[in-house]
C-alpha cells in the first residue's frame, strides 16, 4: 500500500482519541493540560503512551514516570516532524557521511563508530522546546503537550568533535549541518536539518547509538542521534545520515521560523503584536515535574505521603527543589538524590509529609538551579507564539481522604 492510501485509511476511521481541551482562561498561562488518556495502541518498542498523532508519531510520557532518574526506553516520549521515517535500517550497511569543508570526507559505519573511536557516556535530559505548550493561552501553535515531552537517559556514543578531528575541519569552516533521515511526504517541504556553530561543540556533544544500555529505539532515532546536553531536543537530530561542514549559515525553516522565541529580554510578545526579531531556542531553563502523586490521586489523612519528582536545567545543575502545601506561602526543601548522574541529568527529589486536613490539597514544586534561577509561577510566564520554554512551578491537586 502506498503512503497516500495509508493516510486515507487512517483518516476515515472515526475513533476514540480526544479533541484537545480548550484553554481555561484567555490570556493567562496556567498549568499544562494533564488529564490526557493513555492510548490503547502500543507503538513499536513502546508501551502505550499519550498519542497525539500516528503520522508522524507523537507520543507523550505520562506524568507518573517522572519519579525515576532515567526514563525507561519504552516510556520515552517520541516526536518526529515528518511522516516518512525509515522503518528499516540495516545496521551492517548504515553509514554516516561527513563531508563539506573537511580534508577527508568520511563514511562511518556503525561498526567503525563503535570500535574505532573513544566510547563515551553522558546522562542527559531530552526535552522538546514545546513541552507543556498547553499551558499557554491563547493556544500557541503546535502540539498541545502536557508535561511529558521530556525524558532523561544515559546516552552512549562518540564525541562529534572526535569525528570531525578525524575528518579534519578546514580553515574557515564555521558551521555544521546535521541532517536526519526523516522525509516529508511532499518533495518541496524543507528537510529536517539542524545547524550548529563549531564553537558549540563541547566534549559533551555526542553521536549516540545507545540509550540506557540498549540500542536506540527506532522511534527515538535508531541507529544514531545527536545528543546535545542542556539543549532543547529540536537540535538532537535523529537517524543522522549526513553531516556537512561549511563556512556559511544557510537559512533553514526549522531553525529560523519554527523553533524560535522573541529576541527580547522576556522572550515574550502578544498575539496582537508579535516581536519582529526572533532567535532559535537553545539552552533549557530550570524546571521540575512532580511524578507522584498525580492530579486526582487520593492521599490518606495522617498517613506519611512521599512526593517524588524530577528537576533539571540547562547544565548549571540543580541546587534545591522546594515544596509548598499552602499555595506558595511557605516552602520547604525536598531531599535531592546524590546527583551522581551529572549536571545534565534529572535530579530526583522526594518530600515526605502527613496530610493533616481532609479535602483538596495542592502540592507545588519549585526548582532552583546553581545560578539562582528559579521557576516562576505559571501565571507569571509570558506568552510567545510558539509556546516554547514553559517552566512554571508544577502544581498537582490531590484529595486527602
Amino acid at each position: 500500500m502506498k503512503r497516500r492510501e495509508f493516510f486515507k485509511k487512517a483518516a476515515v476511521t472515526a475513533g476514540a482519541a480526544a479533541l484537545g481541551t480548550t484553554a481555561a482562561e484567555a490570556g493567562t498561562t496556567h498549568q499544562p493540560i494533564d488529564n490526557r488518556k493513555i492510548s490503547d495502541v502500543a507503538f513499536p518498542e513502546k508501551r502505550p503512551l499519550i498519542t497525539y498523532s500516528d503520522r508522524p508519531p507523537l507520543l507523550e510520557t505520562p506524568r507518573e514516570v517522572f519519579t525515576c532518574a532515567l526514563t525507561p526506553n519504552d516510556q520515552f516520549f517520541v516526536r518526529w516532524h515528518m511522516p516518512d521515517i525509515p522503518t528499516y535500517i540495516d545496521p551492517d550497511k548504515f553509514t554516516i557521511s561527513v563531508n563539506g569543508m573537511v580534508n577527508k570526507a568520511l563514511k562511518i559505519s556503525l561498526k567503525e563508530l563503535k570500535e574505532d573511536y573513544e566510547q563515551v557516556e553522558v546522562a542527559a535530559v531530552l526535552q522538546c522546546g514545546g513541552n507543556s505548550r498547553s499551558a499557554f493561552s491563547p493556544t500557541a501553535g503546535g502540539i498541545q503537550w502536557g508535561n511529558g515531552a521530556m525524558g532523561c537517559a544515559l546516552w552512549k556514543g562518540v564525541r562529534l568533535r572526535d569525528i570531525l578531528d578525524r575528518a579534519g575541519v578546514k580553515k574557515g569552516a564555521e558551521w555544521l549541518a546535521v541532517r536526519g533521515s526523516e522525509k516529508a511526504a511532499y518533495y518541496e517541504t524543507p528537510d529536517f536539518i539542524r545547524e550548529l556553530h563549531l564553537d558549540e561543540l563541547d566534549d559533551h556533544v555526542i553521536i549516540a547509538y545507545q540509550m540506557n544500555g540498549e540500542d536506540l529505539p527506532y522511534l527515538n532515532g535508531f541507529p544514531v542521534r545527536l545528543v546535545i546536553p542542556g539543549v532543547y531536543s529540536d537540535s538532537w537530530i535523529k537517524m543522522i545520515d549526513n553531516i556537512t561542514v561549511s563556512d556559511k549559515y544557510e537559512k533553514l525553516f526549522f531553525m529560523d521560523h519554527a523553533y524560535v522565541v522573541p529576541d527580547n529580554e522576556c522572550e515574550c510578545e502578544t498575539p496582537e503584536k508579535k516581536f519582529p526579531k526572533t532567535k532559535p531556542i537553545y539552552r533549557m531553563n530550570v524546571k521540575s515535574v512532580i511524578g507522584y502523586p498525580t492530579n486526582g490521586d487520593k492521599l490518606t489523612l495522617k498517613s506519611q505521603a512521599v512526593v517524588r519528582g524530577v528537576a533539571f536545567d540547562g547544565g548549571a545543575g540543580i541546587k534545591t527543589v522546594k515544596i509548598s502545601l499552602d499555595g506558595g506561602k511557605t516552602w520547604e526543601d525536598a531531599i535531592l538524590d546524590s546527583g551522581k548522574l551529572g549536571r545534565y541529568a534529572y535530579r530526583t527529589f522526594r518530600y515526605s509529609f502527613k496530610p493533616k486536613k481532609l479535602g483538596k490539597l495542592e502540592i507545588m514544586a519549585k526548582a532552583i538551579n546553581k545560578l539562582g534561577e528559579e521557576q516562576p509561577l505559571a501565571k507569571d510566564i509570558k506568552w510567545n507564539h510558539g509556546g516554547y520554554k514553559y517552566n512554571g512551578i508544577d502544581v498537582v491537586t490531590v484529595e486527602v481522604v
Partner: protein, 102 residues
C-alpha cells in the same frame, strides 16, 4: 566446538540491532467530523500528517485556522489552491472553531 560458536556470537552481538525487521507504525483512529468540505480536507491535509496533528490545537478562531492553512502553503509548500484553502478554513472553523472570527 560449541564454545567457538558462542564466542563468535558474542563478538557479533553488538552489530545486531534490537529490531531486525521492518517496524510497523500502527494506525490510530482520530475522530473526524464529517461535513461540508471534508473531502477537500482529506485531499489536501492528510498528505503530510495525520488528522490528530490538526485537531489537537483545540477550538480556534477563523483567523487562526486560516493562518494554519497559510502556514502549510507558505512554509511547507503544500500545493493547495486558494479555493480549497477557503473551503478547508470553513470546514475547520465550523467543526473545530470557537465561534470568533478573530
Amino acid at each position: 566446538m560449541k564454545k567457538i560458536v558462542l564466542t563468535t556470537l558474542i563478538a557479533l552481538t553488538p552489530m545486531m540491532a534490537q529490531v531486525k525487521e521492518k517496524i510497523e507504525v500502527p494506525y490510530v483512529a482520530f475522530p473526524i467530523k464529517m461535513g461540508k468540505g471534508f473531502d477537500v480536507v482529506q485531499a489536501n491535509c492528510l498528505m503530510c500528517h495525520s488528522f490528530g496533528y490538526i485537531i489537537n490545537q483545540g477550538r480556534q478562531s477563523k483567523a487562526f485556522w486560516r493562518g494554519k492553512v497559510d502556514k502549510m502553503i507558505v512554509h511547507f509548500k503544500a500545493p493547495i489552491s486558494e479555493q480549497d484553502a477557503k473551503i478547508i478554513t470553513d470546514y475547520l472553523f465550523e467543526h473545530y472553531g470557537n465561534g470568533k472570527e478573530k
